[in-house]
């Protein structure tokens, strides 16, 4: 399955790009995707802030099971206003 991952703010700066497409196996959760991205992108390995997960513009839990063409965003602590 193809998953679109978008990075914003501090994560975008760490990864060096705003968007990547990843191939994942059926049944992969959004939490597992984050774990594999941390292995792939060394600068994410040191991220210790609390992240929220968003899929297709809605917040989801770490156990959300990804579907083909989902758009995933790992949300660092927000600071609008």
């Amino acid at each position: 399955m193809k998953i679109k991952v978008k990075f914003f703010a501090i994560l975008r700066e760490r990864v060096g790009t705003g968007e990547v497409t990843k191939d994942v196996h059926d049944g992969t959760t959004v939490g597992e995707l984050w774990t594999s991205l941390k292995r792939e992108y060394a600068p994410l390995g040191s991220v210790e802030m609390r992240l929220l997960y968003a899929v297709n513009q809605n917040y989801v839990g770490a156990d959300y099971i990804l579907k083909d063409r989902d758009e995933v965003v790992f949300v660092p602590p927000v600071s609008g206003g």
């Binding site: 914003f8 703010a9 968003a54 660092p76 600071s79 609008g80």
Partner: protein, 144 residues
């Protein structure tokens, strides 16, 4: 009216939008860039957002406010990109039959924005920059 924009915010347009024959009050909140934060001399704030989701969240906040208070209409516009000292980064306008509901819904909206809307501010200050809200945004030297 729930938007993020790289341009400036037109408060008159927002007031016209929330204006309502059944309203006895319109309350506005304007968040502005101040020149200091935690002992740092702030030069500007640079906002980044996830526009599609941010606008969806702003709309959700309004729906929630409508369940809690008797309000007529709400408008929220948040800027993205650099916002200079004294300039507004966010404006909220709420109309209601009575002022109490308008004040409370407006307060609720700004507090919720700070908790759930995917917008991030980078503070540019004398001597460095930092993503606000992240523990790992250690100030560094801009001249490097």
């Amino acid at each position: 009216m729930f938007r993020v924009t790289h341009g400036s915010i037109d408060i008159k347009e927002m007031l016209a939008f929330v204006s309502d024959a059944g309203a006895g009050a319109i309350v506005t909140f304007i968040g502005t860039t101040r020149d200091h934060n935690n002992g740092r001399k702030v030069i500007a704030l640079d906002y980044e957002g996830y526009p599609e989701m941010a606008e969806k969240e702003l709309s959700r906040i309004s729906e929630e406010a409508k369940k809690k208070w008797n309000i007529q209409r709400m408008a929220i516009i948040h800027r993205l990109g650099p916002v200079q000292i004294t300039e507004p980064s966010v404006i909220i306008a709420v109309s209601a039959a009575h002022r109490g509901d308008a004040f409370e819904a407006c307060r609720f909206a700004i507090e919720e924005i700070k908790k759930t809307v995917p917008i991030w501010k980078k503070e540019l200050f004398e001597g460095g920059e930092i993503w606000i809200g992240t523990q790992s945004g250690v100030p560094f030297n801009l001249s490097k």
